[in-house]
Protein backbone atom coordinates (compact mmCIF):
# COMPACT_ATOMS: atom_id res chain seq x y z
CA UNK A 1 0.00 0.00 0.00
CA UNK A 2 1.12 3.56 -0.66
CA UNK A 3 0.21 5.91 2.16
CA UNK A 4 0.21 9.63 1.53
CA UNK A 5 -0.03 11.89 4.58
CA UNK A 6 -0.58 15.67 4.59
CA UNK A 7 1.25 16.41 1.37
CA UNK A 8 1.32 20.05 0.28
CA UNK A 9 3.20 21.17 -2.78
CA UNK A 10 3.85 24.50 -4.41
CA UNK A 11 5.87 25.75 -7.38
CA UNK A 12 7.22 29.32 -7.13
CA UNK A 13 4.67 30.04 -4.41
CA UNK A 14 1.73 28.73 -6.46
CA UNK A 15 0.01 25.96 -4.54
CA UNK A 16 -0.38 22.83 -6.67
CA UNK A 17 -1.48 20.33 -4.02
CA UNK A 18 -3.39 21.05 -0.81
CA UNK A 19 -2.98 18.74 2.15
CA UNK A 20 -3.37 15.46 0.29
CA UNK A 21 -3.89 12.40 2.47
CA UNK A 22 -4.91 9.16 0.86
CA UNK A 23 -3.77 5.65 0.22
CA UNK A 24 -3.35 3.62 -2.95
CA UNK A 25 -4.36 -0.01 -2.47
CA UNK A 26 -1.91 -2.81 -3.22
CA UNK A 27 -2.68 -5.34 -5.90
CA UNK A 28 -5.04 -3.08 -7.81
CA UNK A 29 -5.10 -0.93 -10.92
CA UNK A 30 -5.57 2.63 -9.70
CA UNK A 31 -6.51 5.47 -12.05
CA UNK A 32 -5.78 9.12 -11.25
CA UNK A 33 -8.30 11.27 -13.09
CA UNK A 34 -9.23 14.93 -13.20
CA UNK A 35 -9.10 18.01 -15.42
CA UNK A 36 -5.84 19.61 -16.63
CA UNK A 37 -3.95 21.28 -13.82
CA UNK A 38 -5.62 19.19 -11.11
CA UNK A 39 -2.26 18.01 -9.76
CA UNK A 40 -2.46 14.35 -10.85
CA UNK A 41 0.97 14.27 -12.48
CA UNK A 42 2.49 16.23 -9.62
CA UNK A 43 1.14 13.77 -7.09
CA UNK A 44 2.46 10.87 -9.16
CA UNK A 45 5.89 12.54 -9.43
CA UNK A 46 6.02 13.06 -5.67
CA UNK A 47 5.27 9.40 -5.07
CA UNK A 48 7.87 8.47 -7.67
CA UNK A 49 10.43 10.75 -5.90
CA UNK A 50 10.92 12.68 -9.16
CA UNK A 51 9.88 15.79 -7.25
CA UNK A 52 11.07 16.37 -3.70
CA UNK A 53 8.45 16.34 -0.96
CA UNK A 54 8.00 19.79 0.55
CA UNK A 55 5.85 18.65 3.45
CA UNK A 56 4.02 15.55 4.61
CA UNK A 57 5.16 12.00 4.01
CA UNK A 58 4.81 9.15 1.55
CA UNK A 59 5.29 5.51 2.54
CA UNK A 60 5.41 2.78 -0.02
CA UNK A 61 4.95 -0.73 1.38
CA UNK A 62 6.09 0.66 4.70
CA UNK A 63 9.26 2.30 3.30
CA UNK A 64 9.47 6.01 4.05
CA UNK A 65 10.18 7.74 0.76
CA UNK A 66 12.49 10.39 2.19
CA UNK A 67 14.47 7.92 4.31
CA UNK A 68 14.97 5.12 1.77
CA UNK A 69 17.95 5.20 -0.63
CA UNK A 70 16.91 5.78 -4.21
CA UNK A 71 18.60 2.54 -5.41
CA UNK A 72 16.39 0.57 -3.06
CA UNK A 73 13.25 2.35 -4.18
CA UNK A 74 14.11 1.41 -7.78
CA UNK A 75 13.59 -2.22 -6.77
CA UNK A 76 10.17 -1.44 -5.32
CA UNK A 77 8.64 0.83 -7.92
CA UNK A 78 9.17 1.60 -11.59
CA UNK A 79 8.17 4.90 -13.14
CA UNK A 80 7.23 6.01 -16.63
CA UNK A 81 7.22 9.79 -17.02
CA UNK A 82 5.70 11.91 -19.70
CA UNK A 83 7.91 13.49 -22.35
CA UNK A 84 10.32 10.65 -22.84
CA UNK A 85 12.25 12.18 -25.72
CA UNK A 86 15.74 10.71 -25.89
CA UNK A 87 18.55 12.05 -28.05
CA UNK A 88 20.74 8.95 -27.60
CA UNK A 89 20.62 6.52 -30.47
CA UNK A 90 19.62 3.32 -28.71
CA UNK A 91 18.24 0.04 -29.96
CA UNK A 92 14.94 -0.97 -28.39
CA UNK A 93 16.59 -3.95 -26.68
CA UNK A 94 19.24 -1.64 -25.20
CA UNK A 95 16.60 0.75 -23.91
CA UNK A 96 14.56 -2.05 -22.36
CA UNK A 97 17.82 -3.40 -20.95
CA UNK A 98 18.24 -0.32 -18.79
CA UNK A 99 15.18 -1.47 -16.87
CA UNK A 100 17.41 -4.18 -15.39
CA UNK A 101 20.12 -1.75 -14.37
CA UNK A 102 18.83 -1.31 -10.78
CA UNK A 103 19.32 -5.07 -10.35
CA UNK A 104 22.85 -5.47 -11.71
CA UNK A 105 24.42 -1.98 -11.83
CA UNK A 106 26.44 -2.76 -14.91
CA UNK A 107 27.00 -6.54 -14.81
CA UNK A 108 23.94 -8.18 -16.34
CA UNK A 109 23.41 -11.87 -15.56
CA UNK A 110 21.68 -14.51 -17.66
CA UNK A 111 18.57 -13.91 -15.57
CA UNK A 112 18.63 -10.20 -16.48
CA UNK A 113 18.88 -11.07 -20.17
CA UNK A 114 15.96 -13.44 -19.86
CA UNK A 115 13.88 -10.73 -18.21
CA UNK A 116 14.69 -8.33 -21.07
CA UNK A 117 13.60 -10.92 -23.63
CA UNK A 118 10.41 -11.51 -21.67
CA UNK A 119 9.61 -7.80 -21.45
CA UNK A 120 10.18 -7.40 -25.20
CA UNK A 121 7.87 -10.35 -25.88
CA UNK A 122 5.22 -9.09 -23.51
CA UNK A 123 4.99 -5.75 -25.30
CA UNK A 124 5.13 -7.28 -28.75
CA UNK A 125 8.55 -5.80 -29.54
CA UNK A 126 10.66 -8.89 -30.26
CA UNK A 127 10.69 -8.25 -34.01
CA UNK A 128 11.76 -4.65 -33.43
CA UNK A 129 14.39 -5.36 -30.76
CA UNK A 130 17.35 -4.38 -32.98
CA UNK A 131 15.75 -1.26 -34.39
CA UNK A 132 16.87 2.14 -33.20
CA UNK A 133 14.51 4.28 -31.19
CA UNK A 134 14.46 6.92 -33.92
CA UNK A 135 13.48 4.35 -36.50
CA UNK A 136 10.22 3.21 -34.91
CA UNK A 137 6.84 4.91 -34.63
CA UNK A 138 5.81 6.98 -31.62
CA UNK A 139 3.55 4.21 -30.39
CA UNK A 140 6.29 1.60 -30.68
CA UNK A 141 8.70 3.85 -28.80
CA UNK A 142 6.09 4.34 -26.10
CA UNK A 143 5.71 0.58 -25.79
CA UNK A 144 9.48 0.24 -25.52
CA UNK A 145 9.49 2.64 -22.57
CA UNK A 146 6.68 0.64 -20.99
CA UNK A 147 8.65 -2.56 -21.54
CA UNK A 148 11.65 -0.95 -19.85
CA UNK A 149 9.48 -0.03 -16.86
CA UNK A 150 8.13 -3.57 -16.77
CA UNK A 151 11.61 -5.12 -17.02
CA UNK A 152 12.43 -3.43 -13.73
CA UNK A 153 10.28 -6.22 -12.19
CA UNK A 154 8.96 -4.14 -9.30
CA UNK A 155 5.76 -4.64 -7.32
CA UNK A 156 4.67 -1.10 -8.11
CA UNK A 157 4.35 0.58 -11.51
CA UNK A 158 3.62 4.31 -11.73
CA UNK A 159 2.69 5.43 -15.23
CA UNK A 160 2.08 9.06 -16.18
CA UNK A 161 -0.26 9.13 -19.17
CA UNK A 162 1.00 5.90 -20.72
CA UNK A 163 -1.64 6.10 -23.46
CA UNK A 164 0.07 9.09 -25.09
CA UNK A 165 0.94 8.35 -28.71
CA UNK A 166 -1.05 5.12 -28.76
CA UNK A 167 -3.91 4.52 -31.17
CA UNK A 168 -7.25 3.12 -29.98
CA UNK A 169 -6.28 -0.52 -30.49
CA UNK A 170 -2.90 -0.19 -28.77
CA UNK A 171 -4.34 1.88 -25.94
CA UNK A 172 -6.98 -0.75 -25.30
CA UNK A 173 -4.41 -3.53 -25.53
CA UNK A 174 -2.18 -1.74 -23.03
CA UNK A 175 -4.95 -1.19 -20.49
CA UNK A 176 -6.02 -4.78 -20.87
CA UNK A 177 -2.45 -5.83 -20.40
CA UNK A 178 -2.03 -3.73 -17.26
CA UNK A 179 -5.25 -5.18 -15.83
CA UNK A 180 -3.86 -8.63 -16.61
CA UNK A 181 -0.60 -7.89 -14.78
CA UNK A 182 -2.58 -6.87 -11.72
CA UNK A 183 -4.84 -9.91 -11.87
CA UNK A 184 -2.29 -12.60 -12.77
CA UNK A 185 0.96 -11.36 -11.27
CA UNK A 186 -0.28 -9.38 -8.32
CA UNK A 187 1.30 -6.12 -9.51
CA UNK A 188 0.11 -2.77 -8.20
CA UNK A 189 -0.25 -0.20 -10.96
CA UNK A 190 -1.12 3.48 -10.78
CA UNK A 191 -1.86 5.38 -13.99
CA UNK A 192 -2.71 8.96 -14.81
CA UNK A 193 -5.29 8.82 -17.61
CA UNK A 194 -6.97 11.56 -19.55
CA UNK A 195 -9.55 9.56 -21.47
CA UNK A 196 -11.91 8.76 -18.64
CA UNK A 197 -13.47 5.70 -20.24
CA UNK A 198 -10.18 3.82 -19.97
CA UNK A 199 -10.43 4.32 -16.22
CA UNK A 200 -14.07 3.29 -16.31
CA UNK A 201 -13.34 0.14 -18.24
CA UNK A 202 -10.19 -1.16 -16.51
CA UNK A 203 -9.50 0.48 -13.16
CA UNK A 204 -10.18 -1.19 -9.80
CA UNK A 205 -9.80 2.03 -7.88
CA UNK A 206 -10.26 5.63 -8.98
CA UNK A 207 -8.90 8.82 -7.39
CA UNK A 208 -10.54 11.97 -8.77
CA UNK A 209 -8.62 15.20 -8.32
CA UNK A 210 -9.46 18.82 -8.94
CA UNK A 211 -7.58 22.04 -8.06
CA UNK A 212 -4.99 20.19 -6.03
CA UNK A 213 -7.48 18.34 -3.86
CA UNK A 214 -8.98 14.89 -3.92
CA UNK A 215 -12.65 15.18 -4.81
CA UNK A 216 -13.53 11.52 -4.51
CA UNK A 217 -11.96 8.07 -4.39
CA UNK A 218 -13.19 4.51 -4.46
CA UNK A 219 -14.34 1.81 -6.88
CA UNK A 220 -15.25 3.10 -10.37
CA UNK A 221 -18.96 2.51 -9.84
CA UNK A 222 -18.92 4.83 -6.81
CA UNK A 223 -16.73 7.60 -8.23
CA UNK A 224 -17.75 7.70 -11.88
CA UNK A 225 -21.26 9.04 -11.34
CA UNK A 226 -23.12 11.76 -13.21
CA UNK A 227 -23.15 14.41 -10.44
CA UNK A 228 -19.55 13.83 -9.44
CA UNK A 229 -18.07 13.84 -12.93
CA UNK A 230 -20.12 16.89 -13.92
CA UNK A 231 -18.64 18.68 -10.91
CA UNK A 232 -15.14 17.35 -11.62
CA UNK A 233 -14.94 18.59 -15.20
CA UNK A 234 -17.54 21.41 -15.06
CA UNK A 235 -19.21 19.78 -18.05
CA UNK A 236 -22.54 17.96 -18.03
CA UNK A 237 -21.98 14.25 -18.62
CA UNK A 238 -24.19 11.22 -18.74
CA UNK A 239 -23.10 7.86 -17.37
CA UNK A 240 -24.45 4.67 -18.88
CA UNK A 241 -23.42 1.07 -18.52
CA UNK A 242 -21.75 -1.13 -21.09
CA UNK A 243 -20.80 -4.75 -20.41
CA UNK A 244 -21.16 -4.17 -16.72
CA UNK A 245 -18.80 -1.19 -16.54
CA UNK A 246 -19.66 2.51 -16.38
CA UNK A 247 -19.56 4.29 -19.76
CA UNK A 248 -19.18 8.07 -19.71
CA UNK A 249 -20.93 9.95 -22.48
CA UNK A 250 -19.94 13.52 -23.26
CA UNK A 251 -20.38 13.68 -26.96
CA UNK A 252 -21.68 17.17 -27.65
Amino acid sequence: MIQIRNVDFQIHGNPILHDISTSIPKGQLTALIGPNGAGKSTLLKLIARLEKLQSGSVRIDGLDLSATPTEKLALVMAVLSQHTHVSSRLRLCELVGFGRWPHHHGRPSAHDRAEITRALELFDLTALADRFLDEVSGGQAQRAFLAMTFAQATDWLLLDEPLNNLDMAHARALMRHLAGLVRDQGKSITVVVHEINYAAAWADHVIAMKDGRILAEGPPADVLTEPLLSRLYDVPVAVGTHQGRPLILHHV
Partner: protein, 319 residues
Protein backbone atom coordinates in the same frame (compact mmCIF):
# COMPACT_ATOMS: atom_id res chain seq x y z
CA UNK B 1 28.47 -7.61 -40.34
CA UNK B 2 31.73 -5.67 -40.04
CA UNK B 3 32.94 -5.23 -36.48
CA UNK B 4 33.78 -1.53 -36.08
CA UNK B 5 36.40 -1.83 -33.35
CA UNK B 6 38.94 -4.13 -35.10
CA UNK B 7 38.59 -2.12 -38.31
CA UNK B 8 39.21 1.17 -36.52
CA UNK B 9 42.15 -0.32 -34.60
CA UNK B 10 43.74 -1.49 -37.85
CA UNK B 11 43.32 1.96 -39.41
CA UNK B 12 44.77 3.62 -36.31
CA UNK B 13 47.75 1.29 -36.28
CA UNK B 14 48.64 2.03 -39.89
CA UNK B 15 48.29 5.79 -39.24
CA UNK B 16 50.47 5.40 -36.16
CA UNK B 17 53.27 3.76 -38.14
CA UNK B 18 52.91 6.30 -40.95
CA UNK B 19 53.16 9.12 -38.44
CA UNK B 20 56.43 7.70 -37.10
CA UNK B 21 58.02 7.72 -40.52
CA UNK B 22 57.04 11.22 -41.65
CA UNK B 23 58.94 14.35 -40.82
CA UNK B 24 61.57 16.82 -41.88
CA UNK B 25 64.29 14.26 -41.07
CA UNK B 26 64.33 11.04 -43.10
CA UNK B 27 64.18 8.22 -40.60
CA UNK B 28 63.64 4.56 -41.37
CA UNK B 29 61.97 2.42 -38.71
CA UNK B 30 64.28 -0.49 -39.49
CA UNK B 31 67.37 1.65 -39.14
CA UNK B 32 66.43 2.69 -35.62
CA UNK B 33 67.86 -0.52 -34.21
CA UNK B 34 71.35 0.18 -35.49
CA UNK B 35 71.41 3.92 -36.06
CA UNK B 36 71.63 5.89 -32.81
CA UNK B 37 70.59 9.16 -34.45
CA UNK B 38 67.50 7.61 -35.99
CA UNK B 39 66.59 6.07 -32.66
CA UNK B 40 66.97 9.47 -31.00
CA UNK B 41 64.66 11.17 -33.52
CA UNK B 42 62.13 8.39 -33.07
CA UNK B 43 62.16 8.22 -29.28
CA UNK B 44 62.53 11.90 -28.50
CA UNK B 45 60.41 13.47 -31.22
CA UNK B 46 58.35 11.20 -33.44
CA UNK B 47 57.00 8.80 -30.83
CA UNK B 48 56.07 11.47 -28.27
CA UNK B 49 54.38 13.49 -30.97
CA UNK B 50 52.47 10.53 -32.35
CA UNK B 51 51.39 9.44 -28.87
CA UNK B 52 50.31 12.99 -28.07
CA UNK B 53 48.15 13.10 -31.18
CA UNK B 54 46.61 9.68 -30.46
CA UNK B 55 45.89 10.51 -26.82
CA UNK B 56 44.46 13.90 -27.74
CA UNK B 57 42.13 12.48 -30.36
CA UNK B 58 40.94 9.60 -28.19
CA UNK B 59 40.40 11.69 -25.06
CA UNK B 60 38.63 14.53 -26.89
CA UNK B 61 36.29 12.14 -28.70
CA UNK B 62 35.33 10.40 -25.45
CA UNK B 63 34.91 13.77 -23.72
CA UNK B 64 32.58 14.72 -26.57
CA UNK B 65 30.48 11.60 -26.01
CA UNK B 66 30.22 12.39 -22.31
CA UNK B 67 29.30 16.01 -23.03
CA UNK B 68 26.59 14.92 -25.44
CA UNK B 69 25.12 12.56 -22.85
CA UNK B 70 25.03 15.07 -20.02
CA UNK B 71 23.69 17.86 -22.23
CA UNK B 72 21.39 15.41 -24.07
CA UNK B 73 22.20 17.08 -27.34
CA UNK B 74 24.08 15.58 -30.26
CA UNK B 75 25.45 18.86 -31.55
CA UNK B 76 27.83 19.82 -28.76
CA UNK B 77 31.44 19.05 -27.96
CA UNK B 78 33.99 20.31 -25.44
CA UNK B 79 35.24 22.90 -27.91
CA UNK B 80 31.80 24.42 -28.49
CA UNK B 81 30.71 24.82 -24.87
CA UNK B 82 33.21 27.31 -23.50
CA UNK B 83 35.21 24.55 -21.81
CA UNK B 84 38.44 24.95 -23.76
CA UNK B 85 38.39 28.76 -23.61
CA UNK B 86 37.82 28.60 -19.85
CA UNK B 87 40.85 26.35 -19.54
CA UNK B 88 42.82 28.92 -21.53
CA UNK B 89 41.58 31.64 -19.17
CA UNK B 90 42.81 29.72 -16.13
CA UNK B 91 46.16 29.10 -17.74
CA UNK B 92 46.51 32.77 -18.67
CA UNK B 93 45.68 33.86 -15.13
CA UNK B 94 48.31 31.48 -13.76
CA UNK B 95 50.86 32.81 -16.25
CA UNK B 96 50.21 36.35 -15.04
CA UNK B 97 49.66 35.79 -11.32
CA UNK B 98 52.01 32.90 -10.57
CA UNK B 99 54.41 32.46 -13.47
CA UNK B 100 56.75 30.22 -11.45
CA UNK B 101 54.14 27.67 -10.40
CA UNK B 102 54.88 24.05 -11.37
CA UNK B 103 53.16 22.50 -14.36
CA UNK B 104 50.75 20.37 -12.35
CA UNK B 105 49.45 23.39 -10.45
CA UNK B 106 48.75 25.17 -13.74
CA UNK B 107 47.01 22.11 -15.11
CA UNK B 108 44.91 21.87 -11.97
CA UNK B 109 43.88 25.51 -12.14
CA UNK B 110 43.13 25.22 -15.87
CA UNK B 111 40.99 22.13 -15.15
CA UNK B 112 39.12 24.01 -12.43
CA UNK B 113 38.35 27.01 -14.64
CA UNK B 114 37.33 24.62 -17.41
CA UNK B 115 34.97 23.00 -14.92
CA UNK B 116 33.52 26.38 -14.02
CA UNK B 117 33.05 27.21 -17.72
CA UNK B 118 31.26 23.94 -18.47
CA UNK B 119 29.07 24.36 -15.40
CA UNK B 120 28.14 27.85 -16.61
CA UNK B 121 27.19 26.34 -19.96
CA UNK B 122 24.97 23.70 -18.31
CA UNK B 123 23.23 26.38 -16.24
CA UNK B 124 22.78 28.47 -19.37
CA UNK B 125 21.20 25.80 -21.53
CA UNK B 126 18.87 24.70 -18.75
CA UNK B 127 17.22 28.07 -19.14
CA UNK B 128 16.90 27.80 -22.91
CA UNK B 129 13.45 27.04 -24.35
CA UNK B 130 13.31 23.26 -24.20
CA UNK B 131 12.56 22.48 -27.82
CA UNK B 132 15.35 24.52 -29.36
CA UNK B 133 17.71 21.61 -29.94
CA UNK B 134 19.84 23.52 -32.46
CA UNK B 135 20.21 26.57 -30.23
CA UNK B 136 22.12 24.63 -27.58
CA UNK B 137 25.29 24.44 -29.71
CA UNK B 138 24.78 28.03 -30.86
CA UNK B 139 24.63 29.20 -27.24
CA UNK B 140 27.77 27.18 -26.55
CA UNK B 141 29.71 28.66 -29.45
CA UNK B 142 28.70 32.18 -28.46
CA UNK B 143 29.64 31.51 -24.83
CA UNK B 144 33.03 30.29 -26.08
CA UNK B 145 33.32 33.55 -28.00
CA UNK B 146 32.52 35.63 -24.93
CA UNK B 147 35.07 33.82 -22.76
CA UNK B 148 37.55 34.02 -25.66
CA UNK B 149 37.02 37.79 -25.74
CA UNK B 150 37.85 38.00 -22.03
CA UNK B 151 41.03 35.98 -22.63
CA UNK B 152 42.03 38.17 -25.57
CA UNK B 153 41.40 41.34 -23.58
CA UNK B 154 43.52 40.22 -20.63
CA UNK B 155 46.22 38.93 -22.95
CA UNK B 156 46.27 42.26 -24.75
CA UNK B 157 46.68 44.13 -21.46
CA UNK B 158 49.66 41.99 -20.51
CA UNK B 159 51.10 41.75 -23.99
CA UNK B 160 50.57 37.99 -24.18
CA UNK B 161 48.46 37.82 -27.36
CA UNK B 162 50.99 35.72 -29.24
CA UNK B 163 51.27 33.33 -26.30
CA UNK B 164 47.51 32.91 -25.98
CA UNK B 165 47.14 32.52 -29.72
CA UNK B 166 48.83 29.14 -29.57
CA UNK B 167 46.07 27.77 -27.30
CA UNK B 168 43.01 29.42 -28.70
CA UNK B 169 43.82 29.45 -32.39
CA UNK B 170 44.48 26.22 -34.20
CA UNK B 171 46.40 23.80 -32.03
CA UNK B 172 49.48 22.10 -33.35
CA UNK B 173 51.68 19.27 -32.23
CA UNK B 174 54.88 20.16 -34.05
CA UNK B 175 56.69 21.23 -30.87
CA UNK B 176 55.84 18.08 -28.95
CA UNK B 177 58.93 16.24 -27.77
CA UNK B 178 59.60 13.79 -24.97
CA UNK B 179 58.89 15.42 -21.62
CA UNK B 180 56.30 17.78 -23.06
CA UNK B 181 53.34 15.51 -23.61
CA UNK B 182 53.20 13.07 -20.69
CA UNK B 183 50.37 14.91 -18.91
CA UNK B 184 48.14 13.79 -21.77
CA UNK B 185 48.18 10.32 -20.22
CA UNK B 186 46.04 11.84 -17.48
CA UNK B 187 43.53 12.87 -20.15
CA UNK B 188 43.63 9.29 -21.41
CA UNK B 189 42.97 8.06 -17.86
CA UNK B 190 39.99 10.41 -17.58
CA UNK B 191 38.61 8.91 -20.79
CA UNK B 192 39.00 5.40 -19.33
CA UNK B 193 37.18 6.55 -16.19
CA UNK B 194 34.34 7.66 -18.45
CA UNK B 195 34.29 4.21 -20.01
CA UNK B 196 33.92 2.57 -16.59
CA UNK B 197 30.90 4.76 -15.93
CA UNK B 198 29.49 4.19 -19.44
CA UNK B 199 26.18 2.73 -18.20
CA UNK B 200 25.62 5.65 -15.89
CA UNK B 201 26.18 8.18 -18.65
CA UNK B 202 23.86 6.21 -20.92
CA UNK B 203 21.11 6.31 -18.29
CA UNK B 204 21.74 10.01 -17.67
CA UNK B 205 21.22 10.54 -21.40
CA UNK B 206 17.71 9.13 -21.04
CA UNK B 207 16.71 12.05 -18.83
CA UNK B 208 16.69 12.91 -15.14
CA UNK B 209 13.29 11.33 -14.55
CA UNK B 210 14.26 8.00 -16.08
CA UNK B 211 17.53 8.02 -14.13
CA UNK B 212 15.74 8.72 -10.85
CA UNK B 213 13.17 6.06 -11.67
CA UNK B 214 16.00 3.55 -12.08
CA UNK B 215 17.44 4.59 -8.74
CA UNK B 216 20.38 6.54 -10.18
CA UNK B 217 20.99 9.96 -8.69
CA UNK B 218 21.77 12.14 -11.74
CA UNK B 219 23.80 14.79 -9.87
CA UNK B 220 26.99 12.81 -9.13
CA UNK B 221 27.02 11.33 -12.65
CA UNK B 222 26.72 14.84 -14.04
CA UNK B 223 29.60 15.97 -11.83
CA UNK B 224 31.78 13.07 -12.92
CA UNK B 225 31.00 13.85 -16.56
CA UNK B 226 31.84 17.51 -16.19
CA UNK B 227 35.10 16.58 -14.49
CA UNK B 228 36.09 14.22 -17.30
CA UNK B 229 35.28 16.82 -19.95
CA UNK B 230 37.08 19.60 -18.09
CA UNK B 231 40.25 17.64 -17.31
CA UNK B 232 40.52 16.41 -20.90
CA UNK B 233 39.91 19.87 -22.38
CA UNK B 234 42.32 21.59 -20.03
CA UNK B 235 45.17 19.13 -20.60
CA UNK B 236 44.70 19.19 -24.37
CA UNK B 237 44.56 22.99 -24.53
CA UNK B 238 47.62 23.30 -22.34
CA UNK B 239 49.67 20.71 -24.24
CA UNK B 240 48.72 20.99 -27.91
CA UNK B 241 46.17 23.83 -28.13
CA UNK B 242 42.61 23.83 -29.43
CA UNK B 243 41.69 20.95 -31.69
CA UNK B 244 38.16 21.76 -32.82
CA UNK B 245 35.30 19.41 -33.78
CA UNK B 246 36.85 16.06 -32.75
CA UNK B 247 34.61 15.77 -29.71
CA UNK B 248 31.65 16.81 -31.80
CA UNK B 249 31.77 14.83 -35.02
CA UNK B 250 33.39 11.54 -33.95
CA UNK B 251 30.69 10.54 -31.42
CA UNK B 252 28.04 11.45 -33.99
CA UNK B 253 29.53 9.31 -36.72
CA UNK B 254 30.03 6.34 -34.40
CA UNK B 255 26.49 6.79 -33.10
CA UNK B 256 25.12 6.69 -36.64
CA UNK B 257 26.94 3.45 -37.34
CA UNK B 258 26.51 1.50 -34.11
CA UNK B 259 24.14 3.44 -31.87
CA UNK B 260 24.69 4.72 -28.35
CA UNK B 261 25.29 1.58 -26.36
CA UNK B 262 28.13 3.45 -24.68
CA UNK B 263 29.80 0.45 -23.12
CA UNK B 264 30.37 -0.92 -26.60
CA UNK B 265 30.76 2.35 -28.44
CA UNK B 266 33.20 4.30 -26.24
CA UNK B 267 36.25 2.19 -27.29
CA UNK B 268 35.27 2.73 -30.92
CA UNK B 269 34.79 6.45 -30.31
CA UNK B 270 38.24 6.67 -28.73
CA UNK B 271 39.93 4.75 -31.57
CA UNK B 272 38.11 6.71 -34.25
CA UNK B 273 38.98 10.03 -32.57
CA UNK B 274 42.63 9.03 -32.38
CA UNK B 275 42.59 7.94 -36.04
CA UNK B 276 40.92 11.15 -37.24
CA UNK B 277 43.35 13.44 -35.44
CA UNK B 278 46.32 11.32 -36.57
CA UNK B 279 45.13 11.51 -40.17
CA UNK B 280 44.71 15.29 -39.94
CA UNK B 281 48.13 15.60 -38.32
CA UNK B 282 49.70 13.60 -41.15
CA UNK B 283 47.92 15.74 -43.75
CA UNK B 284 49.15 18.85 -41.96
CA UNK B 285 52.72 17.58 -42.15
CA UNK B 286 52.58 16.60 -45.82
CA UNK B 287 50.65 19.40 -47.45
CA UNK B 288 53.47 21.97 -47.44
CA UNK B 289 56.31 19.58 -46.65
CA UNK B 290 58.82 20.21 -45.07
CA UNK B 291 56.79 22.92 -43.33
CA UNK B 292 53.72 22.10 -41.28
CA UNK B 293 50.13 23.26 -41.05
CA UNK B 294 48.80 22.95 -37.48
CA UNK B 295 46.54 19.95 -37.00
CA UNK B 296 43.86 22.17 -35.43
CA UNK B 297 43.52 24.07 -38.68
CA UNK B 298 43.05 20.90 -40.72
CA UNK B 299 40.51 19.68 -38.14
CA UNK B 300 38.69 23.03 -38.43
CA UNK B 301 38.13 22.43 -42.14
CA UNK B 302 37.52 18.67 -42.07
CA UNK B 303 35.42 18.90 -38.91
CA UNK B 304 33.14 21.71 -40.04
CA UNK B 305 32.48 19.98 -43.37
CA UNK B 306 31.61 16.71 -41.59
CA UNK B 307 29.42 18.62 -39.17
CA UNK B 308 27.48 20.31 -41.98
CA UNK B 309 26.93 16.93 -43.63
CA UNK B 310 25.68 15.50 -40.32
CA UNK B 311 23.40 18.49 -39.90
CA UNK B 312 21.72 18.04 -43.27
CA UNK B 313 21.63 14.26 -43.56
CA UNK B 314 18.50 13.02 -41.85
CA UNK B 315 18.95 10.44 -39.11
CA UNK B 316 15.95 8.39 -40.12
CA UNK B 317 16.72 6.14 -43.08
CA UNK B 318 13.03 5.79 -43.89
CA UNK B 319 9.78 5.39 -42.06
Amino acid sequence: MIRPLPVMLAILLSLFVTSLTIGAAQVSLRAAGSDAWAALVLMESRLPRTLAVVLTGAALAVAGTVMQQIVRNKFVGPDTTGTSESAGLGLLLMTILAPDSPVWVRMLVASLTALAGSAAFILLIRRLPAREVMLVPVAGIILSGVIGAVVTFIAWRYDLVQYVGTWLAAGGSSGIIAGRYETLWVAGAAAIAAWFAADRFAILGLGDNVAKGLGLDPAPVMRLGLMVVSVVSALVVVTVGMIPFVGLVVPNIVSRIMGDDLRRSIPVVATAGAALVSACDIIGRLVIYPYEVPVGLIMGIVGSVIFLILLYRPTRPST
